[in-house]
Amino acid sequence: MIPAYYKAPRTLLAILPLCFLALFFLVPVGYLFILSFVEGNAFGGAHWTFTTANYTGMLGDRFYIVIAVRTISISLIACVLNVILAFPVALFAARLQSVWKSVFLTIATVPLMVSNIVRAFGWVVILGRRGILNSVLQFFAPQMVLRQHLFSIQAICFGLLTITLPFTIMFLTNAVSGIDRKNIEAAESLGATRWGVFYHIILPLTKSALASGLMVVFFLTLSAYVTVTLLGGPRYKTLVGFIYDYSATLRWPQAAALSFVLLGIGLAFAGIVQLLVSERKK
């Protein structure tokens, strides 16, 4: 009924970005998924033999299990540290006057605009063998033996916090600022302690922001290849490191399968977080 001249250009508006994203997002990811079920060295020849060996092989291999546990542990540590640090910061920021709050938010978001490579490199500058930490130590204790501080789990965690903290701080600051002060005052007038206010008022009201923050942190840390490589070195590889190595050595189906294992871990975490958040709601 609606004439063509009226409808067609409008639909075209939707079709253009849809086609682009379908072609260069959905199709490649779908292709990667198919690839993860192709036999290991199929890429040398033209054999497309379907197999689940890329996945089952990993499950049976202790080596992969160790790497996966390490990857998940690092991400979980990053999540916990994020919450411990970002919540007080958000409580602090929420009480700032409006001008100071916007100054705060501007400063807090500056790191988001700096490339991950620069942020990781910052830690190399600090922790490296000839880094700032060692030159400071040497200045105060010249006879001390200098150590390499890089290539450790601590270094990885520092680097990951540099990347993820701005997100959690932003999410939580917005959520805490959104709470009506009257709610807090009401709770205090009813005799709640400060911890009680936090647990009964602030936490439930910022739960969904916390959940989205945690999911962002988890995904970012799972796939932080550059940070982990520069700060963890060859000893502390995580799953992304192997994905990269496999792709570099043309073991594409394995790289594809590992990618979906990584995605699966991320989605599982997101699912658990969502479940926790919605269960508490009742």
Binding site: M1, I2, P3, Y5, Y6
Partner: protein, 364 residues
């Protein structure tokens, strides 16, 4: 464009809706609407919120396409013509002045689209601004104007293109009461001077009755009644029209029989006669009686106890209970005081037989 004559009346009607329907998914915004608006008249579409006024207007203006039916302008089928080719002047709710253009640029926009020469454009913009009394503010931006001035600018922008039809969507809703009254007079003056076919959408009954040549009352996506303000007010056809336009006593009567051309109808245990035929004997009919048509008197068949009195300055509102049926009366304060009307007193009610209107629907 295919020439086609309207099925209703091609000669005088400027805008004709023929069987127009509009559905949004499952909701029906308009159901099978037939409407004919005459050349040069000011037609008001009146109805409560959500009744489909804006939808009707958007269909007429060409922002939406009807799900069924056709729209004719001066005999031409414009159902499929986009708004930009319809030559309608529209004053939007909230005015929709372009914030990045001055008043003169706003008013000149339609002429610019019509590729007029600079000099002619300037002249026509100025004369339109003069007409609405805004020529001294031509270089201001909309945000520098008061509400009333914005409205004048929007009006000038709509009429400068010499539209076939002028459409006003709730034009006064953003204005305060005093300004509203003044703009009503002014818009009416300009409209009559230009003899422009005008459609006014409003939910304000005073505005509709005060400004329009004819009023169409809309309810639930359906036209309930079309007529002059006077006929709509004095002889409402349905319960909805009777109550939406002013207050009304809705009574239930029973047709007892006929006395010549007069129907005898019993109300509140008394029989009244109404000059009205075509009613079935024994049927129950809804009646409407305006409160200001009822007078108080000492003796009448309708005697009742005063239940409530509210003094409202020049008028007084009285509620009288007659045999368990409640009558609302609104009358001149002095006249009512003269009738010894006090709460608890017994008073009589009287009215002219022709002021009782038989409604067509069943009163709920």
């Amino acid at each position: 464009m295919k020439q086609q004559h309207s099925p209703i009346d091609g000669s005088q009607a400027d805008v004709v809706l023929a069987g127009v329907e509009k559905r949004y998914g499952n909701t029906i915004a308009l159901r099978s609407m037939d409407l004919s608006i005459e050349r040069g008249e000011l037609f008001a579409l009146l109805g409560p919120s959500g009744c489909g006024k804006s939808t009707t207007l958007r269909l007429i203006a060409g922002f939406e396409q009807p799900s069924a039916g056709r729209v004719f302008v001066r005999g031409n089928d414009v159902t499929r013509i986009p708004s930009s080719k319809r030559n309608f002047g529209i004053v939007f709710q909230g005015f929709a002045l372009f914030p990045h253009m001055t008043v003169a640029q706003n008013v000149g926009f339609g002429l610019r689209m019509r590729k007029l020469q600079k000099s002619e454009m300037k002249q026509r913009v100025m004369s339109a601004l003069e007409l609405v009394g805004l020529d001294h503010l031509a270089d201001r931006y909309p945000r520098q104007l008061s509400g009333g001035q914005q409205q004048r600018a929007a009006l000038a922008r709509a009429i400068v293109i010499e539209p076939d039809v002028l459409v006003l969507d709730e034009p006064m809703s953003a204005l305060d009461k005093i300004l509203r009254d003044r703009m009503q007079v002014e818009i009416r003056r300009i409209q009559q001077r230009l003899k422009m076919t005008t459609i006014l959408v409003t939910h304000d009954q005073e505005e509709a009755l005060g400004m329009a040549d004819r009023v169409g009352v809309l309810n639930g996506g359906r036209i309930e009644q079309v007529g002059t303000p006077r006929s709509i007010y004095e002889t409402p056809r349905t319960t909805f029209v009777a109550t939406f336009l002013g207050a009304s006593n809705l009574l239930t009567g029973k047709v007892e029989g006929y006395d010549g051309a007069q129907a005898a109808i019993s109300v509140a245990g008394r029989v009244i006669s109404i000059p009205r035929g075509g009613l079935e004997r024994g049927a129950t009919v809804p009646l409407s009686l305006r409160p200001e048509k009822i007078r108080l008197c000492a003796h009448s068949p309708f005697m009742g106890k005063v239940k409530e009195m509210t003094y409202k300055g020049s008028t007084t509102y009285v509620e009288v209970d007659v045999n368990g049926v409640s009558f609302a009366i609104s009358g001149d304060s002095a006249q009512i005081r003269g009738q010894h009307c006090e709460v608890g007193n017994l008073v009589g009610l009287e009215w002219d037989a022709r002021d009782v209107v038989v409604l067509e629907d069943v009163a709920s």
